[in-house]
Symmetry: C2
Subunit: 574 residues, 2 copies
């Protein structure tokens, strides 16, 4: 279990601080994560990696010459926010474009994609190469849907070495994508990890049993067996991965890099005993083992588990995999021609992610209204946090109340700050969105950030807003939520409340109602839909206490959404 922390809420920030204090030779802190403290003789394409914290050395431990240029560091097991990714990318950019690389998880895709859009708006070209190596998370014909696990390292190393070698943006993207295509992983776990401050592990595997294909955040595996011998595990790993040798690779004489990765509490000696079998089996199969790695490259706190990754080399990949690099946690040979960069310079670059657009006079007045709504919403969520937590505990993990409370408070402060700096309504909403995403955490944080950001983009910083403009902006926000969450009406999620809200608002505005009246009716529709999910929640609670099977998963997000739009009405028209 995880024992050493102060306030669990501060864990991510404090670990970043300690990490930077210990590794100033390689990295400097910027808002959202870290970037290299050095720069080469010539500017290159920049590689920005990232993801949730709790997987060290992924991701920040892999920043340095020959590998990544920056790492966006999210909260524990949570994607970095859009703003965090954007900020790190701005600080890492050298004018040659940016490649994003990270493991394939919905939250990360959402935020990195949004940050890529912002980078392009800044005039910086940006590409994305996902790691999709976990063979048991989707079938071979859907490789693009697979999760990224320890194979992250392979894509990062190849892309980082390509940047270092002076490849242009197209070429870095191409070779990194090929690295991912020629790489497969399989993981097993014996028990779950405990997040700082949690009383219980995220999940349990029964004693004496091993979960096969279980993800690094506890995502379900597809099989469970008795704990095998080291030799049996080596056989399982190698046989399953040899079933998926990439097209065009002839096993006889194929050059392959095995990476045997410990997730936290399967220790080095055990890994070496397993590796002994892996090495022999690969060699017996006719492959030539090149430059293997055995150790901890992508952990999950103290999870008991390990994974094997195989990278099937070609000449170019071998050159890039074996090229020098120098980072806090992964080093090879020597990278020449590196010079120190000042902290001030990096902070100034990253600050580009925190600029606001000056609003027109009309838009500044709207911004003041927006800030008043966030003031009221923050007060509302302070009052309702416990109740939202209670509802969420029936259907989920109980963190919805605290997440909404943190997000609402952060949004309020960010909106007030933006108004103070002369921002228009759109920028104010987008700053509030970033702050909600940063501090709210979890799925609700990401969805509220996406919704408010889309609302802000639609609203802009110039126009005076009439009822039709607001209704159109709200429709854009709804689309962002559906894209971010991937849910539809009837899935019993937040979408169940947003859709009737938007439909009613549209209808009433079309019918000629003033905005306040239309909003009132729309808020009522959202409330009624949310009551439906509340009823379902209650029913689910009863069903669980009677040992019945699940009757669906209602989302407290619908309830909180209805509360927020009601509060907005009271603030502006009440």
């Amino acid at each position: 279990m995880t024992r050493l922390f102060n306030d669990p809420d501060d864990f991510r920030d404090e670990l970043v601080e300690g990490f930077v204090a210990a590794n100033g030779r390689w990295v400097r802190a910027v808002p959202g994560g870290v970037v290299r403290s050095t720069r080469g003789d010539e500017p290159t394409v920049s590689l920005v990696v990232g993801g949730g914290s709790g997987h060290y050395p992924a991701f920040a431990g892999l920043v340095g010459p020959g590998l990544a240029h920056g790492a966006a560091m999210g909260n524990l097991f949570a994607s970095p926010s859009t703003q965090q990714v954007h900020s790190v990318a701005l600080a890492a950019d050298q004018g040659k474009g940016v490649v994003f690389s990270y493991g394939n998880y919905a939250g990360d895709v959402l935020n990195f994609d949004a940050a890529a859009e912002r980078l392009r708006a800044d005039g910086i070209d940006c590409r994305t190469v996902l790691a999709t190596d976990d063979i048991w998370s989707a079938p071979p014909e859907e490789k693009e849907k697979r999760r990224g696990i320890a194979g992250d390292l392979v894509v990062f190393k190849v892309a980082g070495a390509a940047c270092q070698a002076g490849y242009d943006l197209d070429a870095v993207e191409t070779v990194a994508r090929r690295a991912n295509d020629r790489m497969r992983s399989l993981g097993v776990a014996f028990d779950g990890c405990t997040l700082p401050g949690a009383k219980e592990p995220l999940f349990h595997v029964p004693p004496g049993r091993m979960a096969i294909g279980l993800g690094i955040h506890g995502e379900p595996g597809i099989d469970e067996t008795d704990v095998p011998t080291a030799e049996e595990l080596a056989e399982l790993f190698v046989s399953k991965l040899l079933e998926e040798v990439p097209d065009g690779v002839d096993l006889a004489g194929a050059r392959v890099v095995p990476i045997l990765n410990g997730l936290g509490t399967v220790k080095y000696e055990e890994l070496f005993v397993v590796y002994r079998g892996v090495h022999r089996l690969l060699t017996e199969a006719g492959a030539v083992v090149v430059d293997p790695e055995v150790g901890e490259f992508c952990t999950s706190f103290d999870m008991a588990g390990c994974s094997l990754t195989l990278l099937w080399l070609d000449e170019e990949l071998e050159q890039l995999w074996t090229a020098p690099c120098d980072t806090p946690a992964f080093r090879r040979g020597q990278v020449s021609g590196q010079h120190t960069v000042s902290a001030e310079e990096l902070q100034a670059k990253a600050a580009g992610a925190d600029e606001v657009t000056e609003g027109s006079e009309e838009s500044k007045q709207h911004a003041e209204q927006v800030a008043r709504v966030f003031d009221a919403v923050a007060t509302l969520l302070d009052e309702q946090a416990d109740e939202l937590g209670r509802i969420d505990r029936i259907a989920g993990d109980g963190d919805h109340g605290i997440g909404m409370q943190r997000g609402g408070r952060a949004a309020k402060d960010a909106a007030r700050d933006a108004v103070g700096r002369g921002a228009g309504a759109g920028s104010t909403l987008r700053k509030a969105a970033d702050a909600w995403g940063d501090k709210g955490g979890g799925t609700s944080g990401a969805i509220w950030a996406a919704m408010l950001d889309a609302l802000g983009q639609a609203v802009g910083d110039t126009d005076a807003l009439d009822a039709r403009a607001v209704a159109a902006a709200v429709r854009a926000a709804e689309e962002a939520v559906e894209k971010a969450g991937g849910a539809s009406v009837g899935d019993k999620t937040m979408v169940d409340a947003i859709v009737p809200f938007v439909r009613t608002l549209d209808e009433r505005v079309e019918a000629g109602d003033d905005l306040g009246t239309a909003w009132d009716a729309a808020a009522t529709a959202a409330h009624e839909a949310a009551e439906g999910t509340k009823e379902l929640t209650a029913k689910l609670g009863r069903a669980r206490s009677h040992g019945e099977k699940s009757v669906g998963t209602p989302d407290p997000g619908a309830v909180s959404f209805a509360m927020v739009v009601r509060t907005a009405h009271q603030t502006l028209w009440g």
Copy 2:
């Protein structure tokens, strides 16, 4: 817990095999451990480190240019045998002398010292620098008695860099000793580790509690508290270590290297949160932090714990600490001018540790008698292993029977092999001694190895042996046991049986008895003494079952010794 293994008896050998397969860039296997696979342009002093397995990256993970030249790899948590250390040292030697460095534990001292004697007999000068950094294992005025924990890395790194820089043997020893003098560590643990195949952890710390000063093999700590916050732990570490700033160091402006080491399941993120406090507190105290390390440098399988080491630099130590090195687990910058060495060459060098001396005709006849005794002893111990285990379980950990059985079998095979190669009696006994030490393990393995080795040295490979010569050799063996074990008569150890055996043998030989008669009487005396410890064992068993306090710790070693000398009599004169 440790889950991945095959036959636990093979764990050490299999981990060495896997480690070498994964790290052929740096190391090659030789009997007893590993040595570098590369050699520099000029020969240097060689640094040989080592200890029990289970502490990776200590010790084999630290072999490579700029750091150690070889590592002797013992069984799990058990010292390497004398022969293992000797073999690795021979392979590592470059003609400029050898420095041994390792953590201060009785078993390691015993075997490394004996190997140093063998090296000197080979004409190779050898020095020893122990790591004695654990401040809570002995008071400051007895620093030389302290255990070595993660501070091993400091002594190894400084000594290895000094070798690399071309220092001579005296100079390497001097600066390594200064590194140890200027270095202090303090460790804490939250729970114990489980050795491969064991059902239970070596020890437990109660849930929610933290043991302070607990050793890396579960040696008792001196205090226990509730689990502190990360900040409180940083304060504990720094305050205790600042109480012991070495003489002559002025804290204001002192340059210090902090090494925050995880023992296995306290993970990186937690370590960084603790390090944040350590860094701030050291800086607030006026010290200047140089080149810190946060990670896993000396583990104990999956033990939950961590330690802080502080190295107080001077100019020379700073140069050596920050010098380049390149090993499987610890790398910095680039070491130039390294060339690959063939496996054959290293095997040939290490083979010097396995030479036998051709015996005179008389000594060869004695060697045959020795081999016959070992045949009979191996059979005896096969039969008595369960009974010896039963006795040991009352007083100890129950492994005496299996240890004696393994040692006896290995000694039998080694003696037969030596006789087949024409060895004299002395060499035959010494080969048997090495094998017993290698395979027997534990304290009894080390003591039997020391006893048989001393016996072999005294017997030699030339002389025909009369009763007086045998009695003198047996006296030498007794002295070796007392030196190795540090026990006296009445301590209820194996010594209780050896002393009456030797005294009786001496008396009867002096009185003119023939050797067979004298040995018979001596074996009877040993048996009577052993019966005394058996009675004590039974009494202890009763006391325990009645919940009484300990009545002393009898040693099944006395019982097995008596059995062996009785069997020797039956074989030679029975």
